[in-house]
Subunit: 123 residues, 2 copies
């Protein structure tokens, strides 16, 4: 039997505003929370990579079995962008997003979620 | 002077269909093309990470100064998903996408591009 992925992926892009400086600049905490968030969703983390920018700003990316999760901070705007793509089906990743959000505590968010549907007739 | 990023990011999610097996399963070539594509856009690659799945499938992610580019292949559907997020402004990343597309040679694509606008009043 040939292995077949779910042909419907899910993409979440969420801007989280009004995050406290102490949290936004604590890259270790941020990665810890991101890893916990992935685990809450039962995503399997295969690799991770991060980078601290100068004078500020931070990117962390988890390569997961189900695709990826990335965060990019914008300390100058007290916000971050959370981007998740999962190939496990529609609405996947919401639990990870919600866990992350609760731990980071943004005042407001702007959420966009969309399906990435692979058309199996387009081979 | 405080460093300020461009408050408008750009996100590209492109499904590329009908890619030849020989290309889709050649992860080394795929990474090489992705790196070249990033350079064409003058993105600065800071780190990269990749993973080959069993029985098939491949993920590669570049952590770039301008955010990230990820590809996830679906050999069972002869396609891949190209996901790019750039914090450098609207429509950024098109050159990288086009270079990658030309080198990989999909028969058809499904492209979605959207702005990620940071509202500076939501601090």
């Amino acid at each position: 039997m040939t292995h077949k992925s779910n042909p419907v992926g899910n993409e979440i892009t969420c801007i989280m505003y009004g995050i406290k400086d102490a949290i936004l600049n604590d890259s270790k905490k941020m990665i810890r929370v991101l890893v916990e968030a992935a685990k809450k969703e039962k995503f399997k983390i295969l690799k991770s990579v991060s980078y601290a920018f100068k004078p500020h700003g931070f990117t962390a990316i988890l390569l997961i079995q189900e695709s990826h999760i990335a965060i990019h901070t914008y300390p100058e705007y007290n916000c971050l962008v959370f981007n998740l793509y999962s190939c496990r089906g529609p609405r996947d990743g919401r639990r990870a997003l919600n866990f992350f959000k609760k731990a980071i505590g943004p005042k407001k968010i702007n959420l966009r979620e969309s399906r990435v549907k692979i058309d199996q007739n387009k081979k």
